[in-house]
Symmetry: C3
Subunit: 190 residues, 3 copies
């Protein structure tokens, strides 16, 4: 349940970051929703494909589809001033990074991967959606430009979460601080 | 059989759209064939990976390999006037969009996905190949620039096809008009 | 054992090519390591996903993770003169192309694919990592610009390796010359 909430929340904020980028690139409402969906679902789809969790829940559970569509619509209607969107995109992206990395790592761990691969996959889940978003929008992915405040916090947050669960700590005690740490680390750079 | 025909026909016309874009970017014959293959097979590979139909038929059935290679070669030899290729690319792309979306949705439905996920996957099959084509050729994917005449018709065509099959209508009665609707809707925008 | 060595060696040299491109694009150490990892592991991950070898060994075996990280770090520290990196990138890329194509084709063959699909998948393994590298770095993939010295040698090397193994020849007798042929063919163009 906590994992699902974290996952959906991560999808929502990541999708908002994709929608905002689409708004900044002056795409229309469908372009905004599509980029929101790809950004919100991309990282998780990569993870599910790699651990063989097929078909991925994102395609079977309507909540995974409705969440990024809603995020795209909200974004399209809600941005009154397109002025300094870059800053806002980065804040939502940072929140998504933390939630995705931790949820990705814990899901990979649940599927039987060892701690190190699970942490790597958490990182990949965290950075994947944003990388696809940036590629589609025609810009070099932020993860390559700003690695020590992007890939590294995602990796460390994932590792902390996996280690905690491995040691038998309860999920909420582990997941929330780990995600917050990743997000906070990322926010420091902005 | 109808699904296979639709699939191969969709691969062919999509591959032509990829080949034409490669010609316009002044790539040589191998570049033209490679971009034709990626465009023709990309959407279906994404679909097969996501529904877990592995290895995908595109890798096991020689007809799936020969079709886009042929399309690439034909394109390379056949374009006498490179003048106004953009229009032609878009027509072939529209035809591929319709056939891929419907074939993708029906295959996903065959694999046991519910109507809504099957329609989403049909849309993804339809827009995936063209998105990869545009990314590789260094341009923002058409689906983001022109969504209401691209992603939306693919989604609606997929939904119509899945609904029809779900209601027990015979496949040809469902698939052909659904694909034609998607393609026609797309063509209106050109 | 030979396949593993070929695979790790291929990952290393491909990862170096990614790291060097990252250096040329003036990315920091994390960006260099991330691009090295993506380039080194990308082609093999695509192959493993398509043949259904999930989760891929690259996520389960620490040697697959350590190799490209090491390659990225070595690259970051080792390039004293950034001057004519393009030539060096291409040499490492050619070596990776040969090793990846052959290892990819032989692994696909091991997993029961027929000779033609196995050779195609070998080519895809060979060109996939470099294509992702170029996309992430914001340039048109080399495979599209320079096909007859890139995709074609990868395909022929893969076909030679698969044919040899199919005929019952011992692996080293087949794999090493096939990889060398692909790499040599590619180097001729530089």
């Amino acid at each position: 349940m906590l994992l699902l909430t974290l996952d959906l929340l991560g999808i929502f904020v990541f999708a908002v970051s994709g929608g905002l980028l689409a708004v900044r690139k002056r795409l229309d409402i469908v372009g905004v929703v599509v980029l929101a969906m790809v950004t919100g679902l991309g990282g998780g789809l990569i993870r599910d494909v790699l651990i063989g969790a097929l078909p991925p829940p994102a395609l079977e559970d309507w909540r995974y589809l409705v969440t990024p569509i809603l995020a795209g619509l909200v974004t399209f209607l809600w941005h009154p001033a397109v002025g300094r969107l870059e800053g806002v995109i980065n804040v939502f992206d940072a929140a998504g990074l933390g939630m995705f990395a931790v949820a990705g790592a814990l899901k990979a761990h649940e599927y039987g991967l060892g701690p190190v691969p699970a942490a790597m996959l958490g990182m990949l889940t965290g950075i994947g959606g944003g990388a696809i978003r940036d590629l589609l929008a025609g810009q070099v992915p932020v993860v390559l430009r700003d690695g020590e405040f992007y890939a590294i916090p995602a990796l460390i947050g994932s590792a902390v979460a996996v280690t905690g669960v491995h040691l038998g700590l309860p999920l909420p005690v582990v997941a929330v601080p780990a995600a917050a740490m990743t997000t906070g680390w990322r926010l420091i750079a902005l």
